[in-house]
Amino acid sequence: MPSATLAGRERPGRYWKIDLDTLELPAGDGGTVEIAAPAARGLIACTLEQAENDHAALLARVYGRTAAQSTKFGAMTVAQRGPGAFVYIPADVSVDEPILITYRGGTACYPYTVVLAERGARATVIERVEGGAGTTFCGIVEVVTEDHADVTVASLQLLPDDARAIATRDAKPGPNARVAWAIADLGAALTVGSADARIEHEGANVDIAALFFPRGTQHVDLITTVDHIAGHATSETIVKSAAAGRGQARYLGNIRIVKDAQGSLAHLHDDALLLSKTAHIDSVPALEIAANDVKAYHGATVGAIDAELLFYMESRGIARDAAERMIALGFFEPAIARFPTESLREEIREGLRAKIG
């Protein structure tokens, strides 16, 4: 399913002014990638080009193995072919420090990140995109892990307010393996993101945490999808969003549990905070459950800052705007806590502080 296509009742209403089906993007004009990896036995962290030349067999175990390329924007990433990165963590290697991947683009950049973790391997990847005014990014991240591997991919997007940031992310965790997506979208005029995982093996664990905050006239469209194809696996999705000014967002949280995926455990929780009367967030948790022996929970809230919380803080001498700021920042904390490294978390808090104003 093309994850950027809006279907049925999710089709844009009067608030949603951007038709993703007809959205056209400029042709790619290159871009660069910078990869910084700590020393670890057998770890490969190189450009996609180099991987194609030197590690083709390894690359083939991930590249195109998820559904990412078959989405509308994923297909564009493949066709336009920008910079790329390949990360391979061999069996039983634990990479303690994060692997940093930074893409820098011009007019339009189509980056492609591929991560392969073998049996028992552990690593964290932090991906950033950087570009000037009016830049467009449209990228893919694909992750495949083997049994008992554990991979976290965090992405921070702080592009200028007139940029476009599109990202298609898809993962396949192996048996008893874990994959975590942590996504912070704070910049760009238009953000279209997906974070998916397809669980085909028992014992797998998927964690998705996302936060975004459109303000001014920013738009965010985020879809997360966890497909429970195999049973006895768990997934947890937590999304925190706020909107201010005329900021708009739509979040669609899909959890699908097929008939044979008995013993699945799925949590989906999303909270949306509206900081102005003209801000709008559509929050749509969508659970399709065909198995009968599963546990699936979802909770969603949309609302303004609670007046009782404000009064409590004001009664302690904290001025209203400072109180609102503290409450709004605190609101994001459960999602921020899912991001790796304190410096990244602090950078996200800083980005949020700047937006709250």
């Binding site: 609670d306 007046a307 009782e308 919380l309 009064f311 409590y312 803080m313 004001e314 009664s315 302690r316 001498g317 904290i318 001025a319 209203r320 400072a322 109180a323 503290m326 409450i327 920042l329 605190g330 609101f331 994001f332 904390e333 459960p334």
Partner: protein, 256 residues
């Protein structure tokens, strides 16, 4: 100075369209402990919220001054900065805001000449020890997942850290076991014994007299149906303990 004190004069207030306070007169002097007792629904909490500026409570008449300053003209945060404190009966939980950060922000707001971080931490640690609180509290989210007793201890910690000129304690004793009640008493006692808090005036709102075993009241007021119907010394609390509010109700019924 005659204006000294938290002076409440003919205060009327309503919630939505219902008049709850029907003319309250009360003066809390610096360093004094006043107890305000009354049955459920008599308007005690409405008085607490009206004093501190809760947006749902509308003052429709009367005046409140704090050492001469017109409290009712100020928004809630400025009332706190003027030296007024409310210990909530049901404190709000604020996920994502750490206790330590909140306390620091509050202290900075109320006492802008505030302590350097190291001294502030020391102050917190001392006060927490008095309250028998585990230091891990500092890293927890404000009241988030706290038990009733933990919330009340945190209210008392805030009282200790902010050392207000006047503190209104809204049923701080409700739902507390004896240990927690003693901790509350100790917190108030140690504040009153400190330099910062020796002149703090208290208005302790309570349903039951038992908290007054831990904090001796100088003056006891009985509130029924939005009015203070009786004022006396500590013996009045003992009477409530023995007889409940019924005989007082009958007595004022006889007068009216």
């Amino acid at each position: 100075m005659s204006a000294t004190g938290l002076r409440i004069t003919d205060l009327h207030a309503r919630v939505e369209e219902k008049e709850i306070l029907k003319g309250i007169d009360l003066v809390v002097e610096p360093g004094k402990v006043h107890a305000l007792m009354g049955p459920n629904g008599s308007g005690k909490s409405t008085l607490a919220f009206s004093l501190t500026g809760h947006p749902k409570y509308q003052v429709t008449g009367g005046t409140v001054t704090l050492d001469g300053e017109d409290v009712l003209a100020l928004p809630a945060d400025k009332r706190a900065r003027a030296g007024l404190f409310l210990s909530f009966q049901y404190p709000a939980a604020i996920p994502g805001v750490k206790v330590a950060n909140f306390l620091h922000a509050a202290r900075q707001a109320v006492r802008p000449d505030s302590l350097p971080p190291a001294k502030f931490r020391k102050l917190l640690m001392d006060k927490m020890e008095t309250l028998d609180m585990d230091p891990v509290f500092m890293g927890r989210y404000l009241n988030d997942g706290f038990s009733g007793g933990e919330k009340k201890r945190l209210e008392m910690l805030q009282l200790a850290v902010l050392a207000p000129k006047y503190a209104v304690l809204d049923e701080t004793d409700s739902g507390l076991d004896v240990d927690a009640l003693r901790a509350v008493g100790d917190a108030i006692g140690s504040l009153r014994a400190s330099d910062e808090g020796k002149d703090t005036g208290f208005l302790i709102i309570t349903h039951y007299p038992r908290i007054l075993q831990y904090v001796a009241a100088d003056v006891v007021h009985i509130m029924i149906d939005g009015r203070i119907v009786k004022t006396g010394g500590p013996e009045l609390a003992n009477r409530v303990e023995r007889e409940g509010y019924d005989t007082i109700r009958e007595e004022i019924g006889a007068i009216a």
